[in-house]
């Protein structure tokens, strides 16, 4: 190849016949695996395009031999080394859109497309899924008869059985009796509103009265009653809450989150989680200042909540 280029200044013309030949080869190979007629078709394509290609190459050789006598074309003037812009050949007189500019634009453009085609799906794969399909179904936490009135029960359940153990959560659930003929429950999440540490109940945990219920799909729900809860405290940075989940001491920026609940066929179901600024009143009469669910550490309902204007879909 090198000697060819050295001896003959004129290179063979670009030709598409090899492409057709390659298509024929592929077709034949695929046919070996898939079906025999394809082999025949591939073979025919190979023969046709191979013949055309050979004719082209042979013709180019003959033409090059006759063109060897032509004097070499004039070379461009030398480019000054320190000027990068002039490293490209200056446009010929009369050219409005020089070939070099087109090639430059095409290279950068195609490079950008390649970059985008690889990066966008990959980075999107990393970033987009955490924001999709984050809703969750209801969780069955046992018959309401298991929840004695006026006492908190430490209830441990699987938020999403498909995810398994990693979705295990704990809630402090208190049966408040009836409010206008409907059962009222206080369901408080045990994740501290400061930075998410597990909050501990300030009461006598009665392990001897622990119970295990099963949901319709067989997952376990553990219920452990706690006597005399006077507060909830967080062991990480000293946060404290009252039995309604209101923040009483330490760095938590709002009250403890709560779960919505519903009752069907005598069983308690936990629904969406929501955030709470504060709760006025106690038990069934409590008025809850509720907000959409926020992550721990994010303010709601006060001047610092403007720091979080756009919230990811959850």
């Amino acid at each position: 190849m090198e000697s060819q280029q050295g001896d003959r200044p004129e290179l063979p013309r670009p030709t598409l016949w090899p492409v057709g030949f390659a298509v024929g080869v592929v077709c034949a190979l695929v046919g070996f695996v898939v079906s025999w007629p394809a082999v025949a078709v591939g073979g025919a394509i190979m023969v046709v395009f191979g013949a055309l290609w050979t004719r082209d190459v042979a013709g180019a050789r003959r033409r090059a031999a006759s063109a060897a006598a032509v004097p070499p074309t004039e070379t461009a003037p030398p480019i000054p080394a320190h000027r990068g812009g002039a490293a490209m050949a200056p446009p010929a007189p009369g050219e409005r859109f020089p070939r070099s500019k087109f090639l430059e634009g095409a290279t950068l453009g195609i490079g950008a497309i390649i970059g985008g085609a690889v990066t966008v799906p990959a980075v999107g794969f990393m970033i987009v899924p955490p924001f999709l399909k984050q809703g969750k179904k209801e969780v069955d936490v046992g018959p309401i008869s298991d929840y004695p009135e006026g006492e908190f029960v430490i209830t441990t359940f699987l938020l999403d059985p498909k995810e398994g153990e990693v979705s295990r959560r704990t809630a402090y659930i208190r049966n408040n009796g009836f409010l206008r003929n409907l059962p009222s429950f206080t369901v408080i999440s045990n994740r501290c509103a400061h930075l998410g540490c597990p909050v501990q109940p300030g009461g006598l945990i009665q392990d001897s009265k622990a119970k295990t219920e099963h949901t319709a799909h067989g997952e376990e729900v553990t219920l452990i009653p706690v006597l005399g809860v006077s507060s909830f405290t967080c062991p990480c940075h000293g946060g404290a809450y009252d039995p309604e989940g209101n923040h009483t001491a330490g760095p938590p920026v709002r009250g403890l989150d709560r779960y919505e609940f519903s009752i069907r066929r005598g069983r308690l179901y936990l629904g969406k989680t929501f955030s709470v600024k504060r709760v006025v009143g106690t038990g069934a009469d409590a008025k809850i200042h509720r907000y959409n669910l926020r992550a721990p550490g994010e303010h709601v309902g006060d001047w610092e909540s403007w720091l979080y204007p756009l919230y990811p879909p959850h």
Binding site: M126, I127, P129, P130, F131, Q134, E163, G164, E165, V166, S167, R191, L195, G196, C197, P198, C236, L293, R294, A295, P296, G297, E298, L307, Y308, P309, L310, Y311, P312, H314
Partner: protein, 260 residues
């Protein structure tokens, strides 16, 4: 001592592959330049902290790669795979222990190295870029520690990560989005472990290796600073120009020439 013909032949045999490599790549010359370049004569033990940090990082890289052959990054099997490594696999307890304590040693050495560079004033012209790269390396190193801490999937790992991600979430404006991306969802799930594993094994080490390469290139190019208290500090314009060497004493005894 005249080199015998046999010795010459031996030398030629050894040098031949090196010359072959050098002619085709220039690598041998680069290694020779790195090894035999001049450094200030008064470099002391404080200057070893940088290479010590690199050694600690290489220990982490090697033990980490080997641990990855036995570790399973799934919440259901991560904890058990670590127990398997520690109890059943030959040498597993040693590799795991080296990786865990190597992390602490790496971070301590980074802080000491940073303190040394600061006190020597080696962040000043023309080494500002190197300092910035170094601070980046410090941040990335601590992020390595943070992401790696989750991998054993025990209580300390899980809860430290919950708090760490929520701390990120308190940043204004983009905080909630960043913590969702780290979590791989609304809260820590199975995806979080895979995500942290990928960050810990691929993204962060790749970035750290690249930045270390740049860091070392700049050290070689810009040179190492002398200790600022040294009497022979290189480039020190506060020291008087070296005086003319005194002519040797006349007399019977010739003084031994100083300085080698």
């Amino acid at each position: 001592m005249a080199a015998s013909a046999r010795r010459k032949q031996l030398q030629a045999t050894v040098l031949y592959p090196l010359d072959w490599l050098e002619e085709r790549s220039g690598l041998v010359g680069a290694v020779r330049y790195f090894l035999f370049r001049k450094v200030p004569g008064d470099t002391n033990w404080f200057h070893t902290l940088g290479s010590a940090t690199l050694t600690a990082f290489l220990v982490q890289a090697i033990t980490g790669v080997i641990l990855a052959m036995y570790y399973k990054p799934d919440p259901n099997s991560a904890y058990e795979s670590i127990q398997h490594i520690s109890n059943d696999v030959w040498g597993g307890w040693l590799v795991r222990g080296m990786h865990r304590w190597g992390a602490s040693v790496f971070i301590i050495l980074m802080f000491f190295h940073m303190a040394r560079v600061f006190l020597f004033g080696a962040y000043k012209y023309p080494r500002e870029l190197n300092w910035i790269i170094g601070v980046l390396l410090l941040t990335l190193g601590m992020l390595e520690g943070f992401t790696g801490y989750l991998l054993p999937w025990d209580e300390t790992a899980y809860w430290a990560t919950v708090v760490g991600i929520n701390i990120n979430g308190t940043a204004p404006f983009l905080g909630p989005w960043l913590s969702s991306i780290l979590n791989g969802g609304a809260s820590i799930g199975a995806d979080t472990l895979s995500r942290f594993y990928s960050l810990h094994m691929l993204v962060l080490p790749g970035a750290i290796f690249g930045l270390i390469g740049l860091h070392l290139y700049l050290v070689i190019r810009l040179g190492v600073t002398s200790p600022p208290w040294s009497k022979e500090a290189a480039g020190a314009d506060w020291l008087p120009e070296p005086e003319e060497p005194k002519p040797p004493r006349t007399g019977l005894v010739q003084p031994v020439p100083r300085g080698k």
